[in-house]
């Protein structure tokens, strides 16, 4: 990431988006399971997309640095919330190569809370807001 005023702007934007998303998630549960001080990016292949209440889950097969495939569970907003903001049940499909930014689960568990994702040219945000971040 570039350091400078524009970089700072991008960070501020991400925090604002996160504040919005976390406020909504908090209606159902707290963030106790997640390390909110950390951000992590994983890349892998989608094996399943749960378009379900109270949260969506993106299941991603990630090959770790030992060459072993791990299953990651990425918790996102509800289909009700996302469906009104441009997402659909086919926004994420099995077989998609995906890069996801998350707040990781504590204790090194393979999962986290969705911040944003990229599938090919498409950027998925929890707010559904259009973005030119690449």
């Amino acid at each position: 990431m570039r350091i400078g005023s524009s970089g700072r702007l991008i960070i501020a934007g991400s925090i604002a988006a996160l504040a919005l998303s976390t406020a909504s998630v908090s209606a159902h549960h707290s963030f106790a399971a997640f390390d909110m001080s950390k951000q992590q990016t994983i890349t892998g292949v989608v094996s399943r997309f749960d378009w379900t209440n109270p949260h969506t889950f993106i299941w991603v097969d990630v090959v770790n640095d030992k060459g072993v495939t791990e299953t990651w569970a990425i918790e996102g907003m509800s289909p009700n919330y996302l469906g009104r903001r441009g997402w659909s049940k086919t926004s994420v499909k099995p077989g998609d190569k995906i890069t996801v930014s998350i707040r990781p689960l504590k204790e090194g568990k393979t999962g986290g809370m969705f911040i944003r994702a990229q599938i090919g040219d498409r950027v998925l945000m929890p707010t559904g807001a259009p973005t030119d971040e690449r």
Binding site: A33, N53, P54, T71, A73, N80, G111
Partner: protein
């Protein structure tokens, strides 16, 4: 056994009979509804400002907290000190009143003769506000939504609610007494904006009425979706307040 069932049924019937029946609506009753403010459709709290339309103090400033009596300040402190990582909503228990009115999901208002019905998407909940002139119950059941009656004052729906389950909270980490009463004033501030001013009184818990205001926007193109929390709930909290998440695929 039959006797027990019979007695239970008689009790249930007696409880049913305590609530007055809605009268059979006439054409005039339906016509009268057309003259009320148009609350129909799907509404959601606005974001921004108070943070997802969070309850705000009277002056529109930062949220003003409830002013607690010493006894309830101690209860609150005891709950905070327990340090629970999460609430029962993580286990899909709906929050009840007043928390259910502050969820980041839409709600739909239905006006029919003698009642206003609020269909709340979060946790797929429904509130009934009876506007047929019945009084509040003197010895109400303890319910998540309480028992509500309402009347119209110059285009404002004034709803009064009493009788709440001890599982609901007055505010985060603040329990209520059985004397809590909630008065809500619903009104349109422009054709697609609704204001809900909520005032909570509780002579045991509060030293002053606790008032907050929410703003909702109407979304004509939206419909209420189902929200079955148990469908795929992987979050949980145990009796000790320890939060967990199940990531077994």
């Amino acid at each position: 056994m039959r006797l027990v069932i019979g007695a239970a049924m008689a009790l249930a019937l007696a409880a049913q009979q305590k609530a007055p029946a809605l009268k059979v609506p006439t054409e005039a009753d339906w016509t009268a509804i057309a003259k009320l403010p148009d609350f129909t459709g799907v509404w959601e709290q606005t974001f921004g400002g108070g943070g997802r339309g969070a309850a705000r103090g009277r002056a529109g400033g930062p949220p003003a907290g409830p002013q607690l009596t010493a006894a309830y300040a101690a209860k609150r402190q005891a709950l905070v000190s327990k340090g629970a990582e999460d609430k029962d909503t993580a286990n899909c228990l709906p929050p009840g009143m007043p928390g259910i009115m502050g969820q980041p999901y839409p709600m739909e208002f239905l006006l029919t003769p003698g009642q206003v019905t609020i269909v709340i998407e979060a946790y797929s909940q429904v509130r009934h506000i009876y506007t047929d002139g019945r009084p509040l119950p003197e010895d109400p059941e303890e319910r998540f939504f309480g028992t509500s009656i309402g009347h119209w004052e110059n285009g404002t729906l004034v709803a009064e609610t009493v009788g709440f389950s001890p599982l609901t909270e007055l505010a985060p980490n603040v329990p209520h007494s059985e004397k809590m009463k909630i008065v809500e004033r619903f009104r349109l501030t422009d054709p697609d904006t609704m204001s809900i001013e909520t005032t909570i009184t509780d002579p045991e818990a509060l030293t002053a009425p606790f008032t907050s205001t929410r703003t909702l926007r109407r979304h004509r193109a939206w419909t209420i979706a189902e929200y079955i929390c148990e469908e795929n709930n992987r979050n949980s909290v145990d009796a000790n307040g320890k939060a967990a998440i199940n990531i077994k695929k």
